[in-house]
């Protein structure tokens, strides 16, 4: 059974601080996605990483896919209150004819003004 773990589970920081959240698995994934979910809403995709070692930047957010495609990290620079939300990583593994996407348990981030 493929599982994704995320750490930390909860994170509360002051505005302007930097932070990193992690997504780990013992399984290899063909791609990994990061989503942000705000209260009362569905998850919204932030990025997809496909190649081992790949680094993608989205403004103050930096995403990295591990060389072995088993783990990923999300680094936020100078966090702002608008970054508050639940960050979910999702790994896709190729089945016979479709991708099966599984989600990690999420990191709940609170950025205090």
């Amino acid at each position: 059974t493929q599982l994704l773990e995320q750490s930390p589970q909860f994170l509360s920081i002051q505005e302007g601080e930097n932070l990193t959240v992690y997504c780990n698995s013992s399984s290899v994934f063909s791609s990994l996605q990061w989503y942000r979910q705000e209260p009362g809403e569905g998850p919204v995709l932030l990025v997809t990483v496909v190649t081992g070692g790949e680094v993608k930047k989205l403004k103050r957010l930096t995403f990295q896919f591990g060389d072995a495609r088993k783990d990923s990290s999300l680094h936020i620079t100078a966090a702002q209150p608008g970054d508050t939300g639940l960050y979910l990583c999702a790994g896709a593994s190729l089945q016979t004819s479709y991708d099966k996407v599984i989600f990690g348990p999420g990191t709940s981030l609170s950025v205090i003004p």
């Binding site: 063909s30 791609s31 996605q33 989503y35 979910q37 009362g40 809403e41 569905g42 998850p43 919204v44 995709l45 997809t48 496909v50 639940l86 979910l88 999702a90 896709a92 190729l94 004819s97 479709y98 991708d99 099966k100 996407v101 599984i102 989600f103 348990p105 999420g106 709940s108």
Partner: protein, 116 residues
């Protein structure tokens, strides 16, 4: 324009009742999904349909029956509701079955189901 819309937003019902949640997407996508998010925010896939054909059924009890009248709609009917069914149910869609590269999941805003 809402890309993936599901109704109702909130559903409160008694144990043993039968209820339905509707989902529609106006993105022209071929694939639709139902996910369940429990109280710990863990998001787990239940079903996936591609062009009205069932692709994924993740050992969900038979009391849950998805229905796809066309590729823009995927409704979820639940019979004999149980306390453990309380959760937030999300509908989602993607262009194709291959989410590995540049496809992504578009989620609805969720239906919070409370079984009393």
């Amino acid at each position: 324009d809402t890309a993936v819309s599901q109704t109702p937003k909130y559903l409160v019902t008694q144990m043993g009742n039968d209820k339905s949640i509707k989902c529609e997407q106006n993105l022209g996508h071929d694939t639709m999904y139902w996910y369940k998010q429990d109280s710990k925010k863990f998001l787990k896939i239940m079903f996936s349909y591609n062009n009205k054909e069932l692709i994924i059924n993740e050992t969900v009890p038979n009391r849950f029956s998805p229905k796809s009248p066309d590729k823009a709609h995927l409704n979820l009917h639940i019979n004999s509701l149980e306390l453990g069914d309380s959760a937030v149910y999300f509908c989602a869609s993607s262009q194709a079955l291959d989410t590995a590269t540049n496809e992504k999941l578009f989620f609805g805003s969720g239906t919070q189901l409370s079984v009393l």
